[in-house]
Amino acid sequence: MTSLLVQPTAATPAPATTSRRGRGGALASLLRNRKATVGLAIFLVFCVLAAVPQLFTSVRDPNALSFVPSQQPSGAHWLGTTALGQDIWAQLVYGARQSLVIALVAGLCATVLSVLIGVSAAYLGGVADEALSMLTNVFLVIPTFPLIIVLATYAGKGTLLVVLIVLVVTGWSYGANQLRAQALSMRNRDFLESARVRGERRSYIIVFEVLPTMTSLILANFLGAALYSVLTAAGLQFLGLGDPNSISWGTMLYWSQSQQALQTGMPLWAIAPGACVALLGVSFALMNYAFDEISNPALRPVRRNRARRTHS
C-alpha cells in the first residue's frame, strides 16, 4: 500500500518550487534543474570548440593528408590518425562548428516557420486554419528521412545549404501542430479580448500578447528541432549524401565507414565522431526534458527525503 501513500505527494507540486516565477525566474529555475545544467554545460563546451578550434589543436588544416596513416593514439595524435593520414582529434575539434551551425540555424528556421504557421492558423481561424493545419498534417505524416534522402540526391550531393533547406522543410510540422493547439486554447482568454477591445492591430496582438505567453513551448520546440537536425544531418552525411570534403562529424563517419575503420582496428575513427553527435544530441534532449519538468511540476523528480517521510 505504500504506493498509495506516496501518490498524493506526486500530484501536489513540491512547495519549494511553487513560488511564482517572474521574468528572470525562468532562467533561475532552469539553472536549478540538474538535467538542464548538464545539458547546458555540454552545449557550451561545444560552442567554445566551434568558436576557437585553433586553441585546442596545433593542426591548421584538418583535412590535409599530412601525417602517417592509421596510427594508434599517441602523445602526438591523441586519438590517432585516419587511414588517409589526418589527425582524428583535429578533425573532431574543427567538425564541431558545422554540426553546431546546422543545429542552430536549422532549428531556428524550423521554429520560426512553425510559430508562423501554427500561431497564425490558430489565430486566424476559419478557412485559413483549415488550410494551414491540413498543410501541417500532410508534412507530419510524410516519412521524412526517405524524403530527405530523395531530396538531397536530386538536389545534387548536398552542400550545406541544401542540407539546411531540407532539414527546415521537413522539421517544422511537429512544432506547428503543438503551437497551434496551445494558441487555440488561449484564443478566447480575457487579456486577448481586452487587447482587441483596445483596438490593437492583429499583428500587435500576435507578437506582443500571444507569443510571450508561449515562450517556454517555443523554446522546447527549438530544442527539439535542433536535436532532430543534429541527428538527421549526421545520418545524411554518414550515408554519403553530404559534401564529402567538408569538415564535420558526419563526414568523418562517412569516411571511416567507407574505409572499414571498425574492421581494420581503428574503432576510434568511427566511435569518436559518433560520440560527439550523440553528446550534442543528448545536451539538447536534456535541456528539452528539463523544460518539460519546469513547466509541469508533476514530472519533477520526487525529493528522496520527502518520499521517505511519507513511507513511515
Binding site: 506526486a10 500532410v138 545534387g156 549526421a234 545520418g235 563517419l253 544530441g281
Partner: protein, 329 residues
Amino acid sequence: MNYVLRRLGFFVLTLWAALTLNFFIPKFMPGSPINALRDRTRGKVSPAALQQMLTAYGFKPHQNLFVQYLNYLGDMFSGHWGVSIGATLGTPVSTLIGQALPWTLGLVGIATVLAFVLGSLIGIVAAWRRGGKVDSILPSVFVVTSALPYFWVGLLLILMLSVWTNGFLPSDFNYDNTLQPSLSPGFIGSVLKHAILPAGTILITSIGGWILTMRNNMITTLAEDYVRMGRAKGLSNRRIMYGYAARNAMLPNLSGFAMSLGFVISGAILVEYVFNYPGLGYLLYNAVQNTDYPLMQALFMLFTAAVLIAVLLCDFATAWLDPRARAKG
C-alpha cells in the same frame, strides 16, 4: 460518421499530395536518369538504343507533362511500378520490393512492437512507484538513450559484440549465405543470430521515448479523480494500475505507436545500412546511389502509404475507444 468521413478525406488528400510531390520532385531537379545510365553503361550501348530502352521502361520526357502525370497516378495505383534502371537493370520494381519487404517487416516490425510494449510497461511501473529508486534514475538514462544516433549505437554494438569477440555475433547481411533458405533449424537460427544486433540497436534507441511519454501520461492520469475513486472502492492495486490508470494513459500514445508502425518500413534506413541488412531501407539507399528513379518513386509511395494507412486505422480505433474524439471530429 462525420468524423470517419473527415479522416478518410484527409487520407485521400495526403496520399494525393505525397504522390504529386513524388512525381514532380524528380522532374524539376537536376540530374537525369538517362545521363546516369549513360555513365554507367559508358559506351557499351549507343545513345539511341539507350533512349529506346528507357522508353520501354516508361521514361518519356517529351510527352505532355499532364498526360505523364495521369499515367503515373494510374500506374502507382495499379501496381505497374516499372522496371529498375539501376544496378539491377531490368528487374521489375515490384519483384525487388517483394524480396526486401519481409526482412524489413520481420526485423523492424518486431523490434518496434517490442520497444512499445516493453517501454510502456516500464513507464507504467515507474510512474506507479513514483519516487522509488528506479524512477529517480530512469528519466535521465532514457532521455540520453533516446537522443543517441541510430547508426552510432549500431557501430558500437558491432564493435563490442562482433569485432572484439571475433565475430561472436554477425554484423552484416540477413543470414549466413552459405546456407540454403529453408525451414531448417540451422537456417532459422542463422536468421535470428543476424537479427540480434540490428534489432538491439532499434530497441535501445526507441524504447526511451515510449518509457518517458508513458511515465508522464501515467503520472497525470494517476492524479485523476476516478483513480482515487477506484482506491476508495478498495480495488486491488493491479486493477487500478492497469484497468484504470494505464488504460487511459495509453490513449495518447496509441497514435504515436500507429505512426511508428507506419514508419516501420522506412524508419530504419540507417540501421539497415550499417548492418547491410537487405530490407527496404537498404533498397532505397541503393536506389539513391544508382539514381534508380522508378525504384525510388515506388519505395517513397509505399512508405507514405504505409504511414497513412497506419494513421487511418489508429483514427478509427480511437473513434471506437474514445467517444470524445467522435464528438470533436
